[in-house]
């Protein structure tokens, strides 16, 4: 097994940070700002970000789940499928416009249509199969993976801080995304989360963490141009945290997450990449950082996984730890009244929200989809702008700037 680790590394060993396609430029002031084209990554960058499995068959199983994910998305959005759903709704006396049905009722209406029900079954069976195969592999090789994390816990580079005395709010301990054990309940949650995303769930579109590189590269910087400290809240496996460190190699970069297994893996991954990001098990709503400390704050898909009360606290806490002029790039799912995102208060829109909330097991998404996080940012004191050219796929970035 050790040989496998050498040949098919748990994570790619360090390669030179300066990628062939990267150019180092001066943004403003003295901040080193490395430009990386996520759509045209160099072989060195791909090697650095690649995930490879010790066993060929484990790789093949995840490769199958990636294929199902690609098929399921294409099949669902195909012209014939959309027309079929609409014809079904009309034939059963339902409106294609806004509906007064509840979200659950809207989902139940569509689940009476056999193609929709079959697609839903395949979607979630594939999701469960993906995690089952992943965790099966990780636990069969648990000693190897635990030893790999042990080796980097203290050696770094970059600090790792676990906080066994911290009380975890109950809302953080659900099995979000149907992932067995959730973010907190399995020592390999970080491995499983990162590897299933890159090797299956993203359908091959972010195999080398391109999505995170794209967002970090697009992130605006404070008007003064200096970026000395960056905070990634709800960092999970740390893909965005490392993308920021790759862009700003001289900055002090922190990733925080309530889940110990996630920050432990994030730190391990960053250390293997020789990037030196710091990770801490902390709450975004109680980050423990000093006042006016960070130049840039980032979050990706965090706020729909917290309660509304926690979201409000996070907005206030970030206002406290950001220095005047600091920028927060916030990226999360669209609200349910956004027809551009395929939502809206139609039967299809409401069914999608219910399917995500109840069947992708996102306990806090239902409230989030109907609430107004940008409004919470404004209430906390930020100047808020929506980016017209987002980099997170269908997710629009919201910039919150702390007034000077």
């Amino acid at each position: 097994m050790t040989d496998h680790l050498n040949r098919r590394s748990v994570l790619a060993s360090a390669v030179a940070v300066a990628a062939a396609t990267a150019t180092v430029g001066e943004a403003q002031a003295k901040t080193v700002d490395v430009k990386i084209d996520a759509n045209n990554l160099s072989p060195e960058m791909k090697k650095k970000h690649a995930v490879r499995f010790p066993k060929l068959d484990d790789e093949g199983r995840l490769n199958f789940s990636e294929g199902i994910r690609r098929w399921q998305l294409a099949d669902k959005e195909g012209k014939a499928a959309v027309a079929g759903r609409q014809a079904y709704l009309e034939s059963t006396g339902h409106s294609l416009g806004e509906t007064k049905l509840s979200h659950e009722e809207a989902w139940n209406v569509l689940m009476q249509y056999p193609p929709y029900a079959a697609r839903t079954r395949i979607e979630w069976a594939n999701h469960d199969l993906m995690y089952e195969n992943m965790f099966s592999h990780l636990h069969k090789n648990r000693d190897m993976y635990l030893a790999a994390m042990d080796a980097t816990d203290k050696a770094g580079p970059g600090k790792l801080e676990l906080n066994p005395d911290m009380a975890l709010p109950e809302y953080t301990t659900h099995e979000i995304h149907r992932m067995p054990g959730g973010y907190v309940g399995d020592p390999f949650a970080g491995f499983a989360y990162h590897w299933t995303l890159t090797e299956a769930y993203y359908g091959g579109s972010s195999r080398y963490d391109e999505l995170h590189t794209r967002m970090a590269q697009a992130c605006r910087v404070p008007a003064t141009g200096d970026v000395n400290r960056i905070l990634d809240i709800g960092c999970s496996a740390g893909m965005s945290t490392t993308a920021f460190k790759e862009r700003f190699p001289d900055a002090e970069v922190w990733g925080i997450d309530v889940a110990g297994p996630m920050v432990r893996y994030a730190h391990h991954r960053s250390a293997k990449m020789r990037l030196g990001c710091n990770f801490a098990q902390r709450l975004a709503e109680d980050s423990k950082f000093p006042d006016n400390h960070f130049d840039v704050v980032f979050d990706f898909l965090l706020t729909h996984e917290v309660t509304i009360a926690a979201a409000k606290k996070i907005a206030s806490e970030m206002f406290r730890v950001m220095r005047p002029g600091a920028v927060w790039m916030h990226n999360d799912l669209p609200r349910e009244d956004n027809p551009k995102a395929g939502l809206g208060h139609t039967i299809e829109g409401k069914a999608h929200v219910w399917n995500t909330h109840r069947h992708n097991y996102e306990p806090w998404y239902f409230r989030y989809a109907q609430d107004d996080f940008p409004g919470m940012l404004k209430a906390a004191g930020f100047d808020v702008q929506v980016d017209n050219d987002p980099r997170g796929g269908f997710i629009a970035a919201v910039y919150a700037t702390k007034p000077v």
Binding site: G60, R70, A118, H174, G185, G260, Q281
Partner: protein, 120 residues
């Protein structure tokens, strides 16, 4: 309720078990289970088929196979594209049947001409 604390070494903490694996989406739990098992078997089939493609590649090149080299094999960029296309075709052929449109058959057969597609 006692406070939820995590392990100092691994960071692992108690969690709330969800009910996501108890949902029924089709007309009976048995149909759901069959569909899930079929998906799992298809995944095993694809993993074996991919392994066979690796074997064929190595045999064609070296005339022999070393087990360690087999496990470490990494397809070329061209192979990755070709194999993923083959996988997508395999999945589409097998799984599209589950999402086909169906109608109740009556005594009347369909009428009207359909333009030729070039394939049966």
């Amino acid at each position: 309720m006692p406070e939820i604390k995590s392990d100092p070494k691994t960071g692992v903490a108690p969690f709330i078990k969800g009910d996501w694996n108890k949902a029924v989406y089709l007309d009976s739990p048995h149909t759901d289970n069959l569909m899930t098992a079929f998906l799992g078997l298809s995944g095993e089939h694809w993993a074996l088929r991919r392994r066979m493609m690796v074997l064929e590649t190595m045999l064609a090149k070296n005339k022999s196979v070393d087990l360690a080299a087999l496990e470490a094999f990494e397809p070329s960029a061209e192979q990755k594209v070709a194999w993923d296309a083959e996988r997508d075709d395999f999945i589409k052929r097998i799984f599209t049947v589950f999402t086909r449109e169906t109608t109740k058959q009556t005594a009347d057969v369909p009428t009207g001409a359909t333009p030729p597609t070039g394939k049966l």
